[in-house]
Symmetry: C2
Subunit: 353 residues, 2 copies
Amino acid sequence: MPGSIKLADVAKLAGVSLGTASNAFNRPERVRQEVREQVAAAARKLGYLGPDPKGRLLMGGKAHAIGVLPAGEISVAHAINSPFFRDFMLGVSEICDENRANLLIVSGTKDRKDWAIRNALVDGFILGHTGEVELVSQRHQKVPFVVMDVDAGPDVSSVRIDGRTGARRAAEHLLALGHRRFAILAMSRRPVSPIWHPASDLSRRLVGSFPLDHEKLLGYGDAFEAAGISLDNVPIVESHPPTGWVEAGASMLFERAPKATAILAMSDRHAVAVLVEARRRGIRVPRDLSVVGFDNAPDAVTSDPPLTTVAQPLVEKGRIAARIVFGGGPPRQDILPVELIVRSSTSRPRRQS
Amino acid sequence: MPGSIKLADVAKLAGVSLGTASNAFNRPERVRQEVREQVAAAARKLGYLGPDPKGRLLMGGKAHAIGVLPAGEISVAHAINSPFFRDFMLGVSEICDENRANLLIVSGTKDRKDWAIRNALVDGFILGHTGEVELVSQRHQKVPFVVMDVDAGPDVSSVRIDGRTGARRAAEHLLALGHRRFAILAMSRRPVSPIWHPASDLSRRLVGSFPLDHEKLLGYGDAFEAAGISLDNVPIVESHPPTGWVEAGASMLFERAPKATAILAMSDRHAVAVLVEARRRGIRVPRDLSVVGFDNAPDAVTSDPPLTTVAQPLVEKGRIAARIVFGGGPPRQDILPVELIVRSSTSRPRRQS
DNA sequence: ACTAATTCTTGAAGCGCTTCAATCGAACTA
DNA sequence: TAGTTCGATTGAAGCGCTTCAAGAATTAGT
């Protein structure tokens, strides 16, 4: 509404100065009771609901909100739809509640994120693992922020997990069960259709991945190597969960790597896709095929069969990240532990090798 | 950072006026290429990332975000955890993405909501069905808003469902199957332990409910009446889902209304709690007990057995609400259709009456 | 070459509020 | 009564940016 009442109007009607009116609202104790009531009365009469936050903000005020940018180029809708994100946000929102702050979810492609980082009205940011460009620009921002799942150096707070160890545990588990023929369903962070990587130089393997995804690959490799298997001989399919192409990725895996007895999936979302696709093809898990996921997202428990997976403390991760943003202390780098959780999607292979 | 660079600094270094510098960023076409580059260069040199949104905001700018206040007194964490809310938010976020806006989730108790409504930096609000006090104060706000699931009169936009009809369909379905002994697990919006309503005056039945919940009660009543049953003789337990007391509510229902052959649950969350509690007690659904939910939230499909429920178009509801906020047209009141979906949680009662 | 029509820039006036040094008054000494 | 105190007000100076009328520079028109 144009010409809406402002604090000045209230002050005038109450017969006090602007400053006093402001105090009446924000520091009542500094204003005589009588005057306070006059101001309140004037406000009521004019239908004034209190100082406009826009004005307050400018003068060094807080926005009472922190922003979260999900990882990768995904929409808010996709983010909310992801069990991983949801658990993470649970932790974040818990701390927001504690700090009486709101939660702003920002999304979209890189361009849009850059824009958002500069324009969002928040007191701090939690950045889903994001490229260096954004990091650099962040440096100059005056709001605290934390990056997830990537080491951005000692000047930047980050919270991540030991992905390499986690992935190694997953592969070791399968090796211990006797598996020797593997396939990997890898994470892509870009919205493209599944990519088949038959056997090639490691460094050129994942095209749409983030550092964490590479770490996982290395972790699988660590375990393989100890067992005398070369990661370079393990087929890989890379696929992007939010767009729903992950089922196609699982399908591609079955088509092109039919001899694998065990599949290492870089997320539970990927693993569930394998489960679904396996059932569609009449392949029984874990009898005919073992599958191990990553994250221990909520759907790892509800899937059929429940997933053997590498658990990361998603909720706690959210809490820590949010605390860092609110706390605003010196930069710190947290690395959270991971843990293999064995459920029912893995077993010995039917016939050795 | 105190003393951080501002637009004025950039302007000075570039040797142009403040106004021109502003235009260089916001309306590049109005500035000569050469000058534009000077400004850009100056900005780069100073590490200036573009106009601070706080300043922009004041001069009638947009916050590029809309706020969502979940219904009832719940935390952001609880809200995110609710499948109902998630589906709804999916629709909202879709429209936010379209409008390149962010999504602010506000939560908490009434006090905090009032505060948030006045202070959140957003261009509009979606209010989970909320009491009149908040409505009234909203009237004076200058941002567009829409209320969910409650008719707030012709001056206020609202989106709701025909809860009464939906509830009637649910009860009619059970009646048609031959059920005569019912119990209702009702919705409470307040974080209190379950409340037992044996048989009393209708108007005093639900203590922590919202209008929609009352509508549902009336809908059940409509069906009962047509079958010669009085709603007043149907036992009711009222419970609050977010706090986890809903399982206790289901349990209370089994304790105090052991003879019911069918349970009408006001949400799928309630219905699932009944399912869980039934299994715990060795009561088989639908053989020994029929259960019908409400909402058709995601978990209605994944529950065991899948729920017979009254579907409401949750995602679409979110879309419509968000469009109203962004569209900002004249107030409108939408009523969305509901539809009974029969799955496997209902069947004929084992022995008549 | 000179005026008319354009395109660019400028400077100043806010946007709505908070802050803070300075002022005012009244209650309190001595 | 004059001199202190101390809390309650005031007034003006911003916060960082956008806007807009008005002026300057450039281009077009004849």
